[in-house]
Symmetry: C2
Subunit: 337 residues, 2 copies
Amino acid sequence: MSPRVRIADVAAAAGVSTATVSRTLSSPGLVGEKTRERVMAAVSATGYRINAAARDLRRQQPRAILVLAPNLANTFFSRIIAAIQDVARQAGLAVQISDSRAGTDVLEAIVQSGRADGIVLLDGALPPDMVRNWTLPVIQLCEWNDGYALPGLRIDNAAAARVAVDHLAALGHERILHVSGPAENVLSQARQAGFREAMTARGLPADIHDGGFTIEAGAAAAHVWAAMADRPTAVFTASDECAFGFISECYRLGFEVPRDVSVIGFDDVDFAGHFIPPLTTIHQPRARLGRQAAERLVSALLEDAPLGEGYDQIPPHLVIRSSTTAYRAKTQGGSAA
Amino acid sequence: MSPRVRIADVAAAAGVSTATVSRTLSSPGLVGEKTRERVMAAVSATGYRINAAARDLRRQQPRAILVLAPNLANTFFSRIIAAIQDVARQAGLAVQISDSRAGTDVLEAIVQSGRADGIVLLDGALPPDMVRNWTLPVIQLCEWNDGYALPGLRIDNAAAARVAVDHLAALGHERILHVSGPAENVLSQARQAGFREAMTARGLPADIHDGGFTIEAGAAAAHVWAAMADRPTAVFTASDECAFGFISECYRLGFEVPRDVSVIGFDDVDFAGHFIPPLTTIHQPRARLGRQAAERLVSALLEDAPLGEGYDQIPPHLVIRSSTTAYRAKTQGGSAA
DNA sequence: CAGCTTTCTGTAATCGATTACATCAGTCTC
DNA sequence: GAGACTGATGTAATCGATTACAGAAAGCTG
């Protein structure tokens, strides 16, 4: 339409000053009732919409939060981001997103641009020096990095690995392979640690294959598993995607899940219950994680209070479906070949 | 850190005026070489970062694009949004996202806030009156609505449906069921039209079940299919998710794919190739769609040129995997029961 | 009714950048 | 060396809102 309507136009239309218009919109209690009505009428008559840049500049707060994720294309994040956006919208905050792997210069420019007044950080692998220098409130979500010295929220990954082992052990499995995520990833490390601990506590050997979170990594792991001399009877994978890759490659190699190997995933993505076989997996409450992190950040922003310290850890929850089953020694006493 | 560094601080540190600093940063050619060096040194010494709100206000353009999608949690969008973000970042634009189903008031506020100077719209079901009133450049992506009278980009959905039918017909299938998306959705409509056209062109009956894009819709469709008197030998589903739901429910009901029924999906999501069986499906080049739409929008914004008119339609591409197979009449000549 | 509150509204400074215009120094030309 | 021109820099207005402060009007008290 016509050139943008400014607050001065509304003021003119209502026969008041711009100050009164501004007050009517942001703190109506300060304005007389009749004036208020006149102003509101002028607002809708002119179709006035506030100019965010001007407001942000004056108020010194952009009323927006920035979400940084290592890979926006990853389905794992979409539900989390949706939940964050939901909370933010209800609080009247905009949501800006960026790939956190954009390069430190770009990232600094984005973070320091003054466009956001709080950050949800889903990446634990950024340079700590950079992150520590950020002056906005930041909350870590899912991944973390002790070098950042920031508060955060995540599930208890080590406990999750223990729960997975508990489940498999209860089914009688003793040779369990852990196809882990990337070695440098904190999630991988925490889960590996939990896995190792649970296995050694039972006096079982902790077999770990450095894999990855992707379908391809899972498929590759299937070959590694198939080539093992004394094949593990159960596999605990880094992610559901990894599990899907593993299972579907096993299938291609002539093995069946759970007949030949029990598989347990991680994340409980939407497909997990509809895969063939339906996948036993550690549930990550992604909507809840996103919502809770956003709420903590948003309320800190609105009250201008510090975020508080420390990590919230959500206890793990195992969803048992059909990709795991009790171990029965095959061809009892038979040879390996 | 310390209170924010402003351009005046840099100017003071370099012993020049703010105008010179500003020019050094935005049009270096106008500034003498020695001065430029001095300014740049002052910039890095002070750690100056431009204040986006102030720049946006003065320049009257926020250098950001807004992505509106009907459901941010949907995995279909994540890769598209990632691609958009990529293009935008390289052009120095921020990306704001919002669920387009937030309600018209909220949406108007977001769109008219002046925070974005262009929109990528992934939703074809917003009120046309509202969308037509938007003064920013908008490009429609994937979905569309003729009522908006806006340019856009999408794959040729009708042609895609025809390709699917061609493939199934070539395999000898004559009774084909189309499990369509939601009836009010443009994609559903276009694909239904293509399906109907291709079927009638062959003199085959066009069976259509109103389903949906979700796993649940697919699972429900499996029951409908199973209960049909003369069961179709092939199914063309609304989406890969729908296909997964269909296949996995079939499996639960004791049917196997493609032995008992060939299934063809739509979208070619990441899992499609790793599902069991690997899914034959229509490929949607999501990264390319996102990139191309973003490029068109971004270049219009940077050159301050209009977006141009009309839809770009990408020809469909069928990926043949293992969920479809040649039809062989069972129990040749046997009875139906 | 004077004096004091209270309530409402207006004036003008302000946020931090950009940029039109003015100024100034140096170079070139005749 | 005067005048014209070029290139570099500074001054100050400007973008559109918010808000401290001031002032006016109305209400209350004794």
